[in-house]
């Protein structure tokens, strides 16, 4: 579903991403972990076409994000780390707006709304402005909106931050269910237990380079750690 081939991204003289390649298949959750400023968010933004890679190619279901951005973006859903949404728009309006941007037919948008609100039990708060929402509710609307058009690839940057335990549980189950139904997920996070729990494969980024990729068991092996080790142990060893 997603092919990232040898991408690099320079900001003036600083190299944020340095020759990173990986693939994510349909039905797979792939997590990218690594210290701050290791290039995780830059990779996500490059995949979404929010940043143009200095070199390398990114393909989403065969569509190159640089050459045919509209086709590629139509297949993705994005949950940013900072859910800043128009402060004077209501949650309900935001869901309508996002679906309009993804060209969902009008009748379907109206039909979808009750189910979308049900996902995180948002019924009852949907008519408030975003400026009135807590960070958690903003995040819930942002997750709901990202999934409202049934994307084939979900790009998630720190999904659990700000969510209450119930919300976090719902979100995790949602991503797992989504992958089970054939969706591909790229998860960027510092919440290592979540990555450990739901990912099939994990990539470790350091100074813009992908220094290790594999299943948790493979990573433990690469880090020369026992089978009882956790992802946190792997992280500490590789960081």
């Amino acid at each position: 579903m997603l092919k990232v081939h040898n991408i690099t991204k320079h900001f003036d003289t600083k190299i944020a991403v340095d020759g990173v390649s990986f693939e994510i298949n349909s039905g797979e959750i792939f997590s990218l972990i690594g210290p701050n400023s290791s290039g995780k968010t830059t990779i996500v933004k490059s995949i979404l076409g929010l940043l143009k890679p200095t070199s390398g190619t990114i393909e989403i279901d065969g569509h190159n994000i640089v050459k045919s951005p509209e086709q590629a973006k139509a297949l993705t859903g994005y949950i940013p780390d900072e859910p800043t949404i128009y402060p004077y728009m209501t949650g309900e309006e935001f869901l309508y707006f996002t679906q309009a941007l993804y060209n969902i037919p009008e009748k379907t948008r109206t039909k979808n709304l009750p189910n979308l609100l049900k996902t995180f039990n948002l019924g009852g708060v949907e008519k408030q402005y975003f400026e009135e929402y807590s960070r958690g509710n903003k995040q819930k609307f942002s997750i709901t909106a990202a999934m409202s058009h049934n994307p084939k690839l979900l790009l998630i940057d720190e999904p659990i931050v700000g969510l209450d335990p119930t919300g976090a549980e719902i979100a995790k189950n949602l991503f797992v269910e989504y992958a089970k139904n054939g969706g591909a997920v790229l998860l960027v996070t510092h919440t290592l237990p979540v990555a450990e729990e739901i990912s099939q494969r994990i990539g470790f980024l350091k100074n813009g380079k992908l220094v290790a990729v594999g299943t948790l068991a493979e990573l433990k092996k690469q880090a020369d750690l026992p089978k009882t080790a956790t992802l946190e142990d792997v992280y500490k060893k590789l960081a």
């Binding site: 933004k45 979404l48 076409g49 929010l50 940043l51 143009k52 951005p69 509209e70 086709q71 590629a72 973006k73 139509a74 993705t76 994005y78 940013p80 900072e82 800043t84 949404i85 128009y86 004077y88 728009m89 209501t90 309900e92 309006e93 309508y96 707006f97 996002t98 679906q99 309009a100 941007l101 993804y102 060209n103 009008e106 948008r109 109206t110 008519k127 408030q128 402005y129 400026e131 009135e132």
Partner: protein
């Protein structure tokens, strides 16, 4: 803390030049160019005004006319300073971002003082842009000397201080009283929106009372030739209409300095200082009242309120239609619900309406006392036209130009969606074009009906205004999209970027050409020039509207990240 704040504000200038120094020096030069352009215009306006006044031979009448003009000018200026301080005051005091850290600290009592300093500094600078050329013009015509100049310069600063103290005093007291009433009376609900509406009502009431007071002065009647010997026509007569207003002492002081009456001038100066001191003490005493109001306003508005929910439900946008239409509707929604933006829009409209009011008085006097009005009407029509265009430029600079840069934090929504930059551009373009052309047509109709122009002359104004408004909006949006500001998403700061100044200079220049074309048409019937101007404007505008979205550089993509 205050020293820290001042150090931080001053440090901003030093920090500003640390990155992209070349571009920022160019920005400063462009700013200086716009400043000089505006200052030169104000200077020549005042020089010719003061010269006209100095031609009056009767000393009493000259003094009375002069005082009247100063009083009216200072009322208008005070109105602008007060309303702009009120708008920024409401938001800085009760809705400012990043204030929680300060309010949660033991130094929270300093917060209103910081807001006051910010408001004072923000209104001082534009006021000086107006006053310094006026002072130079006074020196040129009346030779006021260094002492007089320095006295007036300090008095102006004190006057701005007084206006800000009065504004923030009123704001805190009104908000506190409203909050207390809402606590006691069940059917009164305290909300930010309610506070804004209440302050708008109070402002309108004050403006109405002052306008009535000024309108009641029948200048022409007062200064008719047969009344020259009337001993009541002097500065006391005129002053009696204005002596309750905060601007009166400054008006008197300018008059004294102009007449080289230094002793009276110094006395008036001290009276002004005393009034300012009282206002500052009042503000200082009441400033702590902001705190419970601030706390209350952190609670949000619609939580658990059924009525609010129902109202919002009726208004909820469903973004029907294509994705371009969705962008159009999104612009409409976020602009109309952004209270700060709406208030700034109303503020600019308020200034424009004051100009209409002045024209109405002037037009009535012309019609009443001068039978041959044609030539003066053309002069007024041209004047109104250029004012309308400059207001359009101001609206465009504040709302249209920053439109791409203000997406910064929420840009991920549009940036990650399968919608091309072309559609985003046209969604915004259609929204602002429709809005501004509608406002332009409205301005033109009101302007022409106030002056009672012939249909032909009114049509020339209307057509040229619509074309020019369209051109200015296109310039503004295109420049804002091609050169987005990646350092801030504050529209007021974005407007002062290098491209913002360039746009201002361009709009001023274009407005001047457009006005020249109208004047040529009205006085000499030069329709060829008018047609040529319209066609060339439409070609340039069309090309910009087509080419800009095509050539939107990677800079815009950077802003969308």
């Amino acid at each position: 803390m205050i020293r820290l704040f001042l150090g931080f504000e001053l440090g901003k200038f030093a920090k500003y030049y640390k990155t992209k120094t070349g571009a920022k020096i160019l920005t400063t030069l462009l700013f200086a160019l716009v400043f000089l352009f505006v200052a030169a215009g104000i200077y020549s306006f005042f020089v010719s005004g003061f010269r006209t006044i100095s031609f009056e031979t009767d000393a009493d009448i000259r003094a009375a006319i002069t005082l009247f003009i100063y009083e009216v000018f200072l009322i208008v200026l005070a109105g602008i300073v007060i309303v702009s301080s009120l708008i920024s005051g409401i938001f800085n005091l009760f809705r400012g971002g990043y204030t929680n850290w300060l309010i949660s600290s033991p130094s929270y009592t300093l917060f209103p003082r910081i807001v006051f300093m910010k408001s004072f500094l923000a209104s001082l600078f534009p006021s000086l842009v107006m006053f310094i050329p006026a002072l130079l013009a006074l020196q040129k015509v009346f030779k006021i000397g260094i002492t007089g100049g320095v006295l007036l310069f300090i008095a102006i600063i004190i006057f701005i201080l007084l206006l800000n103290a009065l504004t923030l005093f009123t704001l805190t007291v009104v908000s506190f009283v409203y909050y207390k009433i809402a606590e006691q009376v069940r059917f009164v609900q305290f909300s930010f929106k309610g506070l804004v509406v209440l302050l708008l009502l109070i402002t309108t009431l004050i403006v109405g009372v002052i306008s009535f007071q000024v309108k009641s002065v029948d200048l022409v009647q007062l200064f008719r030739a047969e009344n020259v010997d009337d001993t009541t026509i002097n500065i006391t007569t005129i002053g009696s209409y204005f002596d309750t207003l905060p601007s009166h002492q400054l008006a008197l002081l300018i008059l004294h300095v102009q007449n080289k009456e230094l002793t009276s001038g110094v006395t008036t100066f001290f009276i002004l200082c005393l009034i300012a001191l009282v206002a500052l003490i009042l503000w200082r005493i009441t400033s702590s009242l902001y705190y419970p109001v601030w706390q209350k306003l952190q609670e949000g508005t619609g939580l658990g309120n059924e009525n609010t929910t129902k109202t919002l439900e009726a208004k909820a946008y469903r973004f029907t239609g294509s994705s371009t239409q969705a962008i159009f509707k999104k612009e409409m929604l976020v602009s109309s619900r952004n209270m700060k933006g709406v208030l700034w829009f109303l503020f600019l409209m308020f200034i424009w309406l004051m100009q209409i009011g002045a024209n109405l008085v002037l037009g009535n006097n012309i019609a009443k006392y001068q039978p041959d009005v044609n030539e003066k009407l053309i002069l007024l029509q041209t004047f109104q036209f250029i004012i309308a265009l400059y207001f359009t430029a101001a609206f465009t600079l504040r709302f249209v130009f920053p439109s791409f840069s203000t997406e910064k934090k929420s840009a991920w929504i549009l940036g990650s969606a399968p919608i091309s930059i072309k559609k985003i551009f046209y969604g915004k373009y259609f929204f602002y074009s429709v809005l501004f052309v509608t406002v332009g047509v409205l301005m033109s109709i009101i302007n022409t009906s106030v002056l009672g122009l012939s249909i032909t002359n009114a049509l020339h104004s209307l057509v040229l205004l619509v074309v020019s408004v369209l051109a200015i909006v296109t310039f503004g949006l295109s420049l804002g999209a091609l050169f987005p500001n990646t350092e801030t998403d504050d529209p007021e700061v974005i407007s002062t970027s290098m491209t913002g100044f360039f746009f201002t200079a361009l709009a001023l220049f274009y407005g001047a050409i457009s006005t020249y074309v109208l004047r040529e048409m009205l006085t000499g019937g030069n329709s060829a020039l008018e047609i040529l101007f319209i066609i060339s404007t439409l070609i340039v505008t069309g090309l910009l509207a087509i080419l800009t979205p095509r050539y939107l550089s990677s800079t815009t993509k950077k802003a969308l990240s």
